[in-house]
């Protein structure tokens, strides 16, 4: 069926991003917004916009009943969940489908499987994809301790329902594990409503490399190359690039094969990303799968020329993938920088009024912003203000262009991580393309 009208169950830059493709395709876009977000650009960019509640996400963007009510009232055909919020909520996906609407994402069963990290590990192992040495669900601190003893410290204590950098606890030794376990369980219960934990070996130094996959409803699955996502703070990404500047061609091919094996084994449909941790010897292990569009999808778009959101719509409508794997080409290089409202020294959030926010208009520089001058960055949501995506023929050229672009951003009223982004561009390991997830900790802090 042809999608004529879609509700975007999200906010900020990703809502604006989806609206842009809707306009290109002639699809009517319906936005939902909280009281805190009514002045954001996406609300007026949409063809229709509905207020769904106060600022806190549980009262607005996570209010499934309200969103479904708006979907009925606005008479949409489909729901695009964006990323975060309800995008990986299998119950919501099922409710959307049961309401007779098209869910722009994978099947709810697949979302549920990958959302539970313990199950996801089992699915991957069954498919023949390497996973980080570790355990299934542990029932007690004693069981966790026994497994940690066996695989060796340091270990990560991970919440099965965690993700996006939340619900992970690093333990260097037995005492730390014993003291962290009850606290970790208590937090996981509060955050995710599930205190199931498992143990994984802590791999360090490590790189985070992910493969973009996309499948249609006719059994075709292709990959759209990899993204290097090792520049992180608090286990959350800050800079991503494609292709990865460091891995060998051989490792790259093996990563693609593993990702395709995984996606095909679960008959994956729509866009998804398989994240791997890669050690210093280029051994790689499955970390998690994100069953949605990724924040950093624009770097893939920049090197392939593909509009991933357009493909998401086409697949949801039942169309076949328009390309075969061998027709996909990666050209040049692209790097994305996430501009966060935060203190650049300790990375603490910095909400407040954006007295000024302006970006340069430059060739090869794409800006996906969620805010504009005069908007307020509120404490209810993720601190990302905008993404700056820079592309060109060579990585060196992209780095130079990025320095120029970032230095021409004007932002005032709140603190941002802009100085950190510029510091990374001058960091010898980054310039050499040989960095790991510790790179931000190694920056000088004056």
């Amino acid at each position: 069926m042809k999608i004529k009208k879609v509700l975007i169950a999200n906010r900020g830059e990703i809502a604006s991003r989806v609206i842009r493709t809707c306009q290109k395709l002639g699809i009517q876009a319906v936005a939902v917004y909280s009281e805190a977000d009514q002045a954001l650009p996406y609300v007026r960019q949409a063809d229709e916009a509905y207020l769904i509640g106060p600022g806190p996400v549980v009262k607005s963007y996570l209010n499934q009943e309200k969103i479904l009510e708006v979907a009925q009232e606005a008479d949409v055909d489909a729901i695009h969940p964006g990323y975060g919020l309800l995008s990986e909520n299998a119950y919501f996906a099922k409710k959307v489908i049961d309401a007779g609407l098209v869910w722009i994402g994978p099947r709810p069963e697949v979302i549920a499987q990958m959302g539970e990290k313990v199950t996801a590990r089992q699915v991957m192992q069954k498919a023949g994809v390497p996973v980080v040495p570790g355990s299934d669900a542990v029932k007690s601190v004693e069981e966790a301790a026994a497994i940690a003893q066996e695989i060796g410290f340091p270990v990560l204590l991970k919440a099965s329902s965690g993700g996006g950098g939340m619900g992970m606890y690093l333990c260097h030794g037995m005492d730390e594990l014993r003291s962290q376990f009850p606290l970790a369980q208590q937090r996981a219960k509060a955050l995710f409503g599930d205190d199931t934990f498992f143990v994984e070996k802590w791999i360090s130094p490590a790189r985070h490399i992910e493969v973009q996959v996309i499948g249609d409803q006719h059994g075709n699955v292709i990959h759209l190359f990899e993204r290097e996502c090792s520049v992180q703070r608090r286990n959350q990404k800050v800079i991503e690039e494609s292709l990865s500047p460091s891995i060998s061609q051989e490792t790259r091919q093996r990563l693609y094969e593993a990702a395709l094996l995984a996606a095909r084994s679960m008959h994956y449909t729509n866009a998804g990303t398989i994240e791997f941790v890669v050690d210093s010897e280029e051994n790689f292990y499955f970390l998690e799968m994100n069953t949605r569009l990724q924040v950093e999808h624009p770097v893939t778009e920049a090197i392939t020329g593909v509009d991933l959101v357009e493909l998401q719509f086409a697949i949801a409508e039942g169309k076949e993938l328009p390309w075969k794997q061998e027709e996909m080409k990666a050209r040049g290089h692209a790097i994305e920088f996430r501009l966060y409202a935060e203190n650049p020294k300790n990375f603490y959030p910095s909400p407040g009024l954006l007295q000024e926010l302006s970006f340069p208009v430059l060739e090869g520089v794409r800006i996906d912003a969620g805010y504009e001058t005069g908007n307020t960055v509120t404490p209810f949501y993720d601190p990302m203000i905008a993404k700056v995506i820079v592309s060109g023929s060579w990585r060196e050229e992209v780095i130079e262009k990025a320095k120029d672009a970032l230095s021409k951003i004007s932002v005032s009223g709140i603190q941002t991580n802009l100085p950190v982004l510029l510091q990374v561009l001058d960091h010898p390991s980054f310039v050499a393309g040989k960095y790991d997830t510790n790179i931000l900790n190694s920056l000088p802090r004056e």
Partner: protein
């Protein structure tokens, strides 16, 4: 009497102490949640928790008092 205030706007995620409890300088007394991050708030002085002004789940602005301490 000293007040412990919110260092930034956010919601009160956890209150780690009770009225009448002894705390030491630097001890975490409240955890705020702002922009998807947990922010621990410490007691700046040692003392006894006199009164707690907020509840878990309530929203606070920067500078809002969270609890009062009588210095020991």
């Amino acid at each position: 009497m000293a007040q412990v205030t919110a260092s930034m706007a956010g919601s009160v995620w956890k209150i780690l102490v009770k009225e009448g409890e002894q705390v030491v300088q630097g001890q975490d007394v409240v955890i705020l949640e702002s922009m998807k991050m947990e922010i621990p708030i410490q007691a700046e002085v040692s003392g006894t928790v006199e009164k707690i002004f907020v509840e878990e789940g309530s929203f606070v602005n920067e500078g809002d008092p969270l609890l009062s301490l009588s210095e020991s």
